[in-house]
């Protein structure tokens, strides 16, 4: 390989973001039997790929809601409410994979953004706001630890709050 060719390849590779590429690779392949779409990859950091750099249609905010802290059963039909620092609000609902999506053209939010979840009588409010990461799983990944709040869930105490029944097939 000539030096010119090597420099050309090196310069082309310099346009990529190796950190982002590595983070996307770490997500692994698609689950078998789940087509690419709103039901795929629940619980993963959606905005990694769903951004301009990630080459998938960009999301402003996205994530997955599970039933409780100890369960990876997704919960549908949860209303996800957002309010930003200027009081601008937006609401959406989780699908059958427990996931929700907010596209940039739907909500022009300015951080910090506060989030709450509601399904039937259960209300769960996030204690700290979102500043930068539009992926819930950016901070809410498993396992729960020093730098992760664990997955997003609706039911705090199953003895006090009743786990909602899924309306999905």
């Amino acid at each position: 390989m000539s030096l010119g060719t090597a420099l050309l390849i090196a310069s082309a590779m310099g346009c990529a973001d190796p950190v982002l590429d590595e983070a996307i690779d770490a997500l692994g392949p698609e689950a078998s039997g789940v087509p690419t779409g709103p039901l795929h990859r629940p619980g993963q950091p959606c905005v990694l790929c769903h951004s301009e750099a990630g080459n998938a249609p960009p999301f402003l905010l996205a994530g997955t809601v599970f039933v409780d802290a100890h369960s990876l059963t997704p919960i549908d039909d949860v209303r996800v409410d957002f309010i930003d620092t200027f009081g601008e609000t937006f609401s959406t609902t989780t699908n059958c994979a427990g996931s929700f999506i907010v596209r940039p053209q739907e909500y022009s939010a300015h951080s910090p953004i506060w989030v709450s979840l509601r399904r039937d009588e259960v209300l769960r409010e996030m204690e700290t706001p979102i500043y930068r990461d539009g992926s819930c799983a950016g901070c809410h990944s498993d396992p729960l630890g020093t730098a992760s709040a664990g997955h997003v869930f609706l039911i705090d105490d199953p003895e006090v709050e009743q786990a909602p029944v899924s309306r999905c097939p």
């Binding site: 409410d81 200027f86 700290t128 979102i130 500043y131 930068r132 950016g138 901070c139 729960l144 730098a147």
Partner: protein
């Protein structure tokens, strides 16, 4: 290896071995230069730390170990391996870890600001908070507001806990 090159290489190694004997000792260096840097005292930090926790320390911002300025505490990054973001209240050790992270960002400039009340905008912490310098988290304070006064008064040896308390007690917008 040609003889000249070999000689040059060996003399280089010889010089390198001799250098430590000729260089001034650490004691000699420190005795001729004033290396004492001043900073706000850590015992006044918890109030500032709480305000920073509220405004800067979520897990997607400065509650991350990859940050030069990393803030530990309740609601964000935890110091103890046994703790979780919504576990125990912020500990003394976490305040100290956050303090050390902050004062070690630009210690020489901080010393000037603290001792001589040099322009606090010399500190990237202040420039970024005020939005003067690019900050991924955006402008977080306006000169004179509670967060700004909390930080800047502390940095300039005029600590006042009231604006820090105002930051902590500030209500955020809520959905009706």
């Amino acid at each position: 290896m040609p003889l000249k090159l070999a000689f040059a290489a060996w003399s280089g190694i010889g010089l390198a071995l001799l250098m430590p004997c000729c260089a001034p000792s650490l004691e000699e260096q420190t005795s001729t230069h004033d290396t004492t840097l001043a900073a706000p005292a850590p015992d006044s930090f918890p109030e500032v730390g709480e305000a920073l926790q509220q405004s800067c320390a979520t897990l997607d911002c400065h509650g991350q170990v990859g940050r030069a300025l990393r803030i530990y505490g309740y609601g964000g990054l935890r110091l103890s391996l046994l703790d979780t973001p919504l576990g125990d209240p912020t500990s003394e050790l976490e305040y100290l870890a956050s303090y050390e992270s902050l004062v070690n960002l630009e210690p020489e400039v901080l010393s000037e600001v603290f001792t001589w009340q040099a322009d606090p905008n010399q500190l990237s912490l202040v420039r970024k908070t005020r939005g003067i310098e690019h900050h991924k988290g955006g402008q977080r304070a306006i000169p004179g507001d509670a967060l700004d006064r909390c930080i800047v008064l502390w940095l300039t040896d005029n600590f006042d806990p009231d604006p820090c308390t105002d930051v902590v007690n500030a209500e955020h917008p809520t959905i009706e």
